[in-house]
Symmetry: D2
Subunit: 375 residues, 4 copies
């Protein structure tokens, strides 16, 4: 399968360059009969926009993208037809000439050179297809998957867990508030932390520098049994999805890297009998279970356990900084480059809906695959 | 594609349960004309065996597996035919009755219950297909991939970077020695660290407990251009491969989670002109590059940069511990379980050849996919 | 893989309903650096249009489709980027209300009922996605594949070999003229036959009836070695492609069903030494061959032989006829239906570019796959 | 996906060369909980064996193959586990030295040369992987699929419809008897026809020649809704499956090539209200239908209609004939070749279980895919 399609049954193919006519996606395999509207998709795209997360935030990109999705197929009288759902989002306000200076120079930390090493040429305008702009198609597709998952009671929530060295409270810790996440432009689950981070971001902006951080994600309502051993494990699929985002440098599930430090007797999550009647979608003769802890992060042997799916992803700092950097140009000469223009200081707040979208696409696919587990 | 096949062009399908007649693999898509012998495969399987890494090590599993591969197809007069290479490894010394006591109980930290939740039944003997025994098929397939990669000058080396809280030196640090890795049963790149860790393992064994740790991997000789954006990125594929191993809870590339803490101006690897003549497999008009640092871990935008591919994987502790643990049985009653039998205190030394095999399979596939990048 | 994607490396995903906003395709995996223009695509779409083949022909559909393709991605400065090429074609002149009468009735010979049986609902306007309109996306994608193939010297030519019981001359027979095919609206390779068929079509139109026929296709310039045994054989892939067209009821290669009647000593194509110097893309030590005959139709064991690929496809008559037919409606009552509107009497002339497009997509994919045959 | 795997959810990967150690298959994606025994597989392999169809028939191959399957994985206590089912069949009685004379010569009508043109080398013993021996793995896999389909009430029956120019009665015609098929070694559904054909085969054998013919297949009990438009249509998948058999040169569905001759008003199958209560697996609000005729062969728009699936495949004559034929050797010299050894005069009787197996694999896959059609 070529590299721009993701999934086996609930699939997405994305397309588009940052400064081409449009970006978009084709969702194929979404079951028929799902009530779906343009607003479902628009709402998620709005969360990804600079004017969304970045509203009132110095960190926002200045590019104003309307990001109005147009659904070209797959929906009739408000319901999915079982046919491919094609969605396009026009690129506007492109100012391609801004990028003329970058045509023959390789930006540090960007894919400019590796792209040329692979394909022999590239669209230099705004990073072409390696731009974060590409993720708009993912978010549109993920919006479809989210509506599908909602029918199963599955809910996905990601947030900014850390920016640079400032960590925010974890679920259950004082100050953590799920409701706060979408109230502040940083998508931090704690108002006080948000203010501290905002200050730091302004400092970095003034210095012409940028920050990375950690994104956390929690999925509730997931039925047990999802994941396709041995290669299509739930965590393998999520890891693949997260690392398919250009800025992500690591991912961990449950106790994650911390699990490497613990002892077996500590890290094993102890099963408990499930509350009476809790049987869910289990096969006959298989008892319900609950657990004392969730170090495993929601799966065992790559199959969902019915606990919350929990993972964290590490993002490197935004590579476009206005501090001057040494680099090399097309003829192999050393050049100094200060990247000008509209760049986020930190990408994580805007990556939150993208990470949710990718998670939704994985889970929708695994739910469909699971339908074939038993005769 | 069903869950037991990995790859697009250079593919592997594995099969087999721990205590069934055999485990094995079918490698499909290996190009024709590759010189390949049974010894190539046998040598890698030997590295995976308890009697290999664990030789002389209290940590070794007592199960003596001959792990003699039988090649059923795909090779003729010492060369690959371009047809599927099927390899089987008989399961011997199985003692299935050892597992009768586990038939109706769910071991903490194991996939016993999730497997039943998915499929409605399971082979309880030795964990069935969720056993680490399954990885023998991967190692056999990876051995084929390694021979293919050797023709490109690509070399993969993994080692034990940490067990429990004892870290071992990193490449370039005092005490690190690549040659030491295969000399000690722990696959630690430092003799002194090996001794400290061995002592710790013996303590844990005495306590009836187990340890996790960190595995590091470095790949040298990788040509630039490998990786299929946007979903088949090099790091996405490696992450998927690593998380397809049951005990892995996290993966990171280059600076990894540490990259989340740095500034853009620090984390960007600065390009330098390549030494004269270094052009490798680059398209015309694309200059060679080198870099001052490798925080990115060998790829940019998910495409290999020609730098070393570097990643780390976190392993949770072995869940089978002889310390008594509370759990639940098939009728939903609480039970106490002390897992007896032949279990590693730490799996990482034996996971080293498995991680290398999965890496080799990803890279062989990406090399073939890359052949279609340009007209 | 969901049902609307075709191919492994050179892939196409099509989307769109007959009376939705647009139809289109995403071509993923087309190698980078291919010179491609909008006119390449427009020219093929023009051949598929009613106003193309049907010009001046009573058989033409009255629907006037501009079929102007818009390329949304994948091309930069006149060359393919190696990224997905998304192309959309707006549906215009839709007159959806024409179809209100068909909302609750199942047309004989159409997919109305089976579509509902599968998905539980359908877009009844113009057949929705089961409309021949869907093939516009295939033709646009096939145009890209054709340009790619042209670089290899591969040329695909299909024509109308028979309509109803009127056969047209075969290549080599008196009257056959390749140049004539695109000169007449029926795409018949013989002017005289075209006139006879045209007369018959007018009779059928007057009777409110329709015709089927045979389409022939010949591919020249194909290098030997294409096809992926055992399941991805050249003929298997072409057969799959042809039967993916709704009206096709059969396909045959070379001597085809006639081969079933012959003797082995007759049907075997005898090899001859190739003319001196004819070696093409063959591996070292493999001699060139030529053949006395081509009963096999261009492949042996599913691998192209370097001879012309030759196949024929049988098309059933257009099911929409204005003669009254008995059928059943949504409540299970018997109804009489005379399908009114703009329908071709015979679909084959317009199917010619579609069959060529599907053939091109198969061959482009097989050329890329073949790049991995040898080390 | 590499060329030796077939299917999306219910998949088979076959492996093995004619004179290597073994042939076999891995079935991945068979749902868990299916009662399956070795005898289910053995019985189908027995039907494929020379000693089966060929019993008492001069046409039989002399090679005595025990064809004893060994199941290596995927079954536990008589039920499928949901894990890959690996089955191997050892090659015995190989007499590889019989083939030494063919090492450097290209047999007319065989894949010897095209295989070398693709891969640069081949296993010349018995045709290597292009041998019909390869189909043993398909039959073993198909046996699993048949057991799965039996649970749905789906039954597949193929037979010899014609050998050379002798046709046998069609279903409904005088002399046709389903029960007769497995009673005679030719798998002809009519005792009298069998005798006539047998005589003809003996004549051909005496002349050192061979015959082709037609295989018919009918599937009963198929639920409506199977098939994945637009590329995974039921007929497209069956056509791909049939043309993946080396000797097949054409396939047709229902009225097939005959449909090309008819008028729309004749060929359309008229719907009728279904008998009361016949609703089957239909979604709510979709009425049951029946039809007056089955020219379509069991599908409309590539989706099964609930009618019998009916198709025919044309087989070319066996290319190995003992009559001397001119051909070319490795150095490009003209040679005369009389193929000696154990060859069928006609392959169709033994192809019957193979065609059934491929059909079963397609249908099992489509049943699983169909599970995701609706929310």
């Amino acid at each position: 399968m070529a590299g721009n399609t993701f999934g086996t049954l609930f699939t997405v193919t994305t397309f588009g360059e940052s400064h081409g006519p449009a970006v978009g996606c084709v969702v194929d395999g979404c079951p028929a009969g799902l009530a779906l509207s343009g607003e479902d998709i628009r709402a998620e795209l709005r969360r990804r926009r600079p004017g969304g997360a970045g509203r009132g935030l110095g960190a926002s990109t200045a590019r104003s993208e309307a990001d109005e999705p147009e659904i070209l197929s797959g929906i009739f009288e408000g319901k999915t037809l079982g046919t491919p759902i094609a969605i396009i989002i026009r690129n506007t306000n492109q100012r391609s000439q801004d990028y003329d200076a970058l045509k023959d120079i390789y930006r540090p930390g960007h894919a400019d050179w590796t792209w040329e090493a692979k394909y022999g040429l590239r669209d230099h305008r705004g990073g072409g297809r390696s731009s974060a702009r590409e993720t708009a198609g993912r978010v549109a597709a993920g919006a479809v998957a989210k509506v599908f998952l909602a029918g199963y009671g599955v809910e996905i929530r990601a947030w900014t867990a850390a920016i640079a060295d400032i960590e925010t409270p974890k679920p259950g810790e004082p100050g953590f508030d799920f409701e706060e996440i979408e109230r502040n432009p940083l998508r931090v689950p704690c108002k006080e932390s948000a203010e501290r981070i905002l200050k730091r971001i302004e400092e970095l902006r003034a210095e012409g520098d940028s920050a990375g951080g950690i994104l956390s994600c929690r999925v509730t309502g997931l039925p047990p049994g999802l994941g396709e051993p041995v290669f299509g494990k739930l965590d393998a699929r999520i890891a693949e999805a997260m690392l398919s985002l250009g800025a992500v440098k690591g991912v961990e599930f449950g106790a994650g890297f911390g699990a490497a430090l613990g002892l077996g007797s500590e890290m094993n999550d102890r099963p408990l009998p499930a509350p009476a009647g809790l049987k869910g979608s289990l096969p006959p003769d298989v008892p319900g279970l609950s657990w004392r802890s969730n170090n495993a992060g929601g799966m065992l042997g790559g199959i969902s356990s019915g606990q919350d799916l929990e993972f964290r992803a590490a993002f490197k700092p935004v590579p476009s900084v206005s501090k001057p950097q040494q680099t090399v140009d097309r003829i192999g000469a050393v050049r100094e480059l200060a990247v000008r223009g509209r760049h986020d200081v930190c990408i994580i707040p805007r990556a939150v809906p993208v990470a949710e979208a990718m998670t939704a696409l994985v889970l929708a696919d695994l739910i469909l695959l699971h339908r074939s587990s038993r005769v």
